[in-house]
Structures are given as C-alpha cells and as structure tokens.
Symmetry: C2
Subunit: 230 residues, 2 copies
Amino acid sequence: MAQFAVIGLGRFGITIAETLVKKGAEVIAIDNDEKKVEEVRAFVTNSVCLDSTDEQALRAIDIGNVDAVVIAIGENIEVSVLTAAILRKIGVGKILAKVDSELHARILTIMGVQRTIFPEQYVGREIANLLISQHVFTYTEISKEHSVVEISVPSFFVEKSLKDLDVRNKYNISIIAIKSTKPTVDELGNNILLEDTNVLPSAEDVLHQSDRIIIIGKNNDVDALVKIAE
Amino acid sequence: MAQFAVIGLGRFGITIAETLVKKGAEVIAIDNDEKKVEEVRAFVTNSVCLDSTDEQALRAIDIGNVDAVVIAIGENIEVSVLTAAILRKIGVGKILAKVDSELHARILTIMGVQRTIFPEQYVGREIANLLISQHVFTYTEISKEHSVVEISVPSFFVEKSLKDLDVRNKYNISIIAIKSTKPTVDELGNNILLEDTNVLPSAEDVLHQSDRIIIIGKNNDVDALVKIAE
Ligand SMILES: Nc1ncnc2c1ncn2[C@@H]1O[C@H](COP(=O)(O)OP(=O)(O)OP(=O)(O)O)[C@@H](O)[C@H]1O
Ligand SMILES: Nc1ncnc2c1ncn2[C@@H]1O[C@H](COP(=O)(O)OP(=O)(O)OP(=O)(O)O)[C@@H](O)[C@H]1O
C-alpha cells in the first residue's frame, strides 16, 4: 500500500494529499499550524502537527518508512531547505519539493531532492503558449525542446490525406492523433457533439475543417506551423 | 502582431510576460510596485506602474486594444475581482486570471473571465498522479480516454528493439519518443547528464535500462502497461 507524507498544507500540499487519498494511497499530512492539521484530519490517514525542522519529531513519526515525502512549503526557503536536509539525513528515499524560484530549485536539487516543482512557472509557460495562438488548445513540453500540441486543423490541411500532406518531410512534425466531433443524438434525444480521437492515424486518413490534430515535434517546428496556420 | 497585457508581476505574471515576448508577441507589463515594473523594463514592449483598480489609468494606456489581458494577482481577491470588473466595463475581449481558490474562480467565471488558472491545484493533481506510480514521469490527458505518458522503460523491454517489442499489437499503445541520458563533460569540465529525445523512433531503435519512453494510447491500456511494469 503506497504511503506518502506531505509536509505543508497550503493549497499545493492539500491538493496533493487529497488526490493521493482519492487514488487509494495512505497519506500522513504534516503542518506546524494546528488549524491546517485539523482541516485535513477527516480525510487523511494520519495528520500530525509538528515543525518539519525538528528532526526528533520527524523520526518519532517514522517518516523514513514512507515511499516519498512532498515538501509543500514554497515561501520559506530556509525551512524548505532545512527540512530536505533532515529528510536526507533520516534516509527518506524520494523527496519532491515545491519551490518558488529557480535558485530555490537549484539548491534543493544539489541536495538530492529528486524533483522540484515550480507551479507558477510551469503553468505560466503553458498559458502563455496557449495565448500565442488561439488555435492552440493544449501545449505540453515533453522535453527541453520537444512538445506535444493540440491545434485546430490549419486551413491549408483541410480535406487532405496525411499521405498527401507529408508533414514529417514538409514541416518536421508528426500528427499522432486526429480529434473530430460528430453531431449525434443521445439516449434522451438531445443533440450532442461526440468526440472521437483517432490515435496514430493511417496515411489514408483525411483531415476535416472542424478537426483538431495533436502534433509532436521540436518546439521551433511546432511553433513555426502554428504561426503559418494563423 | 499579437498584443497582450499582464497585470501583476509575481512569478506567474513574469513567466507569462517572458514567454509571450520570447514567442514574438508585444507585452504591456503592469504592476503598482515600481520595483517590479523596473525588473521587466528591459525585455517587455512597455512596462507601466499603475494600480489596476484605477479605471482612468487603465483607459489611459489603451488597454481595450490588446488581444487579451492576464490578471496575475492571485493573493488579493478584491483587487483581482475589481480589476476584472473594470476590464469588462472597458470592453477587453479576453481575460484570463490566476486564482487561489475555487471560490475565487467561480466569482471571476460568473463575471465573464474566460479562463481561470489555479496553478497549485493544477500541478498538485499532476504531481499526485505521478507519485501514485513511481515509474510515471509525466501524464498528460489528450482526450477523455487517451493520454500521453512518460515512463521509465519497463524491465522486460530493456535491450529490445521496437520491432521485437511490437507494442502496438501486444499492448495497444505506441512509443512516440525515447529519452536517454548520456553522461558527458561540459565546457567547464563538469560531469553532466545530457538528455537526448528521439522523437518517432524507428523500428530498429533499442531501449536501454536508463531510458524513458513516451507512450500514447487509451488510458486503460496505458495504465495496464504501467501496472505490469511496477
Ligand atoms: N516549519 C514548518 N513545519 C511544518 N509546516 C510548516 C512549516 N513552515 C510552514 N509550514 C506550513 O507550510 C504550509 C505552506 O506554506 P506557505 O503557504 O508558506 O507555502 P506556499 O508554497 O506559498 O503554499 P501554497 O501551496 O498555498 O502556494 C503552511 O500551511 C504552513 O503552516
Ligand atoms: N492593485 C494592484 N495593481 C497592480 N498590481 C498589483 C495590485 N495589487 C497587487 N499587484 C501586484 O501583483 C503582483 C502579484 O501579486 P501577489 O504576489 O499577491 O500574487 P500571487 O498570485 O501570489 O503571485 P505569484 O504569481 O508570485 O504566485 C505583485 O507584484 C503586486 O505588486
């Protein structure tokens, strides 16, 4: 049974605790603010009020035995860093930590924290990418230079087959799915739009006006196609 | 030429401004803290120090003409809501806003803000999903039933070629990229890990122990593979 500890019950920490519990894991929720600890008492496995910079207190709750600890204290770098140091000393195998700056991320990474999370920057980038093109519906970076992006079918792709479009050679990207919506009638007689996703389409598949395509490629190439599609 | 205004230069606002500029858009950066305005002066099109609850000041900079305005003030609900009300009154077409609670999101949505963004919750959910399976590094839903997921190479895939693995027939998923890390030395003589992403790999490519693969498929099939890889 997967067991996790979440230190810091701000919005990020609470979301992690709630989601883990919902997925069937055991969660120890920790905060030094009694009010926060009380808020989660009803839905977590265990909730403890303690100061995460208190090594004794952490050892007392056997934190070394969990599968991973999430340090969800973004604002106070010193507390976050000291907590990470103590967890490493105790021997916690996997530590993830929320950060609020790149410097904060670098310090924790050098200390052996496996994953640093900077929500405002991560989401800020995604939102900016969506703003740049109103034709872009989702934009997910899968590596430093590659992304998987969902866009409306460019006008010059309409009614053409993938074979004719030859996007890999012409635009250096690939179409990994075609999403189309079919107007249909549900069991209650309502007009609804049924979404169909054709994953890894074949060369003969044709793109239609209202379709969306999910493409993969280097960011420059993806952005270039989005630009000419405007 | 796409033109945007970002109100509030916290970490989220600054990331949006930076990313938009990097993608070639014009950005008006706004904050009532002169220090914040100064910080971005060098890289944005225009930076203005004003209070976003001051309708006259917003009209004076012609904010009604931009393609979209991002209200990046999460902490102060009153300021965020009043700003949204003023922008709607001025006739700004598209408004996006950062929120720090579901109540905040509901208020702004009722007021006509097209998109509300709650970074801590959005990322918190994704991180919790990744924790549930330690072999999953990213998990992006691309439709109601399909996802693009990055996982460590399952042990039974190691040293096999894609052709031999025949994942499409055996597991009903496809491998759209292979990420490998090569230890190398940078210009300063430091040992670093260089990440290489091989997008749309060929049938002859072989998977190695420390690689990660990005797979696409129906959620059930993706989850099934992740489960047996545990
Ligand atoms: N030394 C500590 N020990 C335990 N909990 C702490 C300690 N210091 C701060 N916390 C708790 O961590 C939680 C999150 O802290 P804070 O709000 O500073 O971070 P944040 O990253 O801004 O939060 P959010 O997730 O809401 O963005 C708070 O509930 C706070 O009580
Ligand atoms: N009335 C106002 N007019 C213009 N700017 C404002 C106003 N009130 C606050 N700001 C600015 O908005 C910015 C972001 O505010 P704040 O830090 O409260 O939000 P946040 O959502 O917590 O930020 P972050 O993006 O760092 O998480 C600050 O730089 C602040 O100076």
